[in-house]
């Protein structure tokens, strides 16, 4: 419950502040968001399966974001930034789907 409220509060702050994304950070923000989404859905699944740990969630949240951004940055340096960013999004997308499938199984027994 608290995390959901916090998510909404963060979104509300974002709507009120109307942040301008710095040009240098623009390629990295999408993958950071997708990586964070993966961590969130993983946490929801773990919570439903009864194995949730704040410590694990926080570590996965941070490492996901840092690694995703770092990979895209590396890709930029190697000249394949957009391709690697696609790869990151695909991989995290697959993981999000897997997590959602597990959530569905727990919630609907199907």
């Amino acid at each position: 419950m608290i995390p959901l409220v916090a998510l909404l509060v963060g979104a509300l702050i974002g709507l009120l502040v109307r942040p301008e994304v710095p040009a240098g950070f623009q390629p990295y923000l999408p993958v950071a968001v997708v990586a964070a989404l993966d961590a969130i859905f993983g946490a929801v699944r773990a919570r439903l399966e009864g194995s949730f740990s704040e410590r694990v969630f926080l570590i996965s949240f941070l490492t996901n974001i840092v690694l995703a951004v770092f990979l895209v940055y590396l890709g930029d340096q190697l000249g394949v930034g957009s391709e690697l960013s696609t790869a990151v999004v695909v991989v995290f997308g697959v993981r999000i789907f897997a997590n959602l499938a597990a959530v569905r199984r727990v919630l609907f027994n199907a």
Partner: protein, 259 residues
């Protein structure tokens, strides 16, 4: 990718962590606060990203295909126009640079001319190499004709600024005689006459010394001595008063051309 570890395979959790959700309600520890912060950050990032995508996409996505084509052609036309403007401005810049250079050249030649004219009319003290021609004439036998001849000789040899007894010769200067006393511009001249001339020293020395020239003509007279002394550095004073012309007025070059 990192393993988020919130998978069913990780089951070895301490019991209190397993019931983290209920615990959070009872007493939110710093872990819960950190999780909430992470969620808030995610919400914020999502909104930021969505807005950043919207700001460009929103406008274009709303347009129909033909409108997009129109926008594209407009942008292309605008780009072409700006490109040609850049070219034009570059050309203007080059023009200005050229004309600035030409103006500077003209200014420099005008300055040069101004300096020449100031020397010519004796408005300024002049200095440079030249000769000092000293004529001693205790008996006051030297006539104005001889002095005029001497000055003519010097000018012919290239003298640019001349003074007699520290009195500058200008374009309107004249020698005259009154009561058998020599005058220069109505001021009495006392011997010995010291003629200082700035110009090519060697040429003027030769010019004064040619047979039948100024020195010969002067030294024919009894008791008259004439000596030339070359100087590498010589000063000729400015005229005491500048000419104030009454009758002559300048004519514009264009006007005289149409005459």
């Amino acid at each position: 990718m990192t393993d988020t570890a919130e998978t069913s395979s990780v089951q070895e959790r301490p019991p209190q962590v397993d019931t983290g959700g209920r615990r959070a309600v009872r007493r939110p520890g710093w872990m819960q606060i950190a999780v909430a912060c992470a969620c808030a950050v995610l919400g914020f990032l999502m909104v930021a990203q969505v807005r950043a995508t919207e700001s460009v996409g929103e406008r274009l996505a709303a347009e129909r295909e033909e409108d997009l084509a129109r926008i594209l052609s407009e942008l292309t036309a605008q780009s072409d126009r700006l490109q040609s403007e850049i070219t034009e401005l570059r050309l203007t810049l080059v023009e200005y640079e050229t004309s600035a250079e030409a103006e500077e050249l003209a200014l420099r030649s005008l300055e040069r001319r101004y300096d020449d004219l100031r020397v010519l009319i004796g408005a300024v003290t002049a200095e440079g190499e030249g000769v000092i021609f000293t004529i001693d004439d205790p008996g006051r036998l030297v006539t104005q004709d001889l002095l005029v001849d001497t000055v003519q000789e010097l000018r012919d040899a290239g003298a640019e600024a001349i003074a007699v007894n520290d009195q500058r010769l200008v374009t309107s200067s004249a020698f005259s005689t009154r009561n058998e006393r020599l005058l220069l511009d109505r001021r009495p001249l006392q011997p010995p006459y010291r003629v200082a001339a700035i110009g090519p020293a060697d040429t003027m020395e030769v010019a004064l010394g040619i047979p039948g020239g100024a020195i010969d003509a002067l030294q024919v007279l009894p008791e008259v001595t004439a000596e030339v002394e070359k100087r590498s550095e010589l000063t000729v004073p400015a005229a005491s008063d500048s000419p104030a012309f009454v009758y002559a007025t300048p004519v514009d070059p264009e006007e005289s051309a149409t005459d």
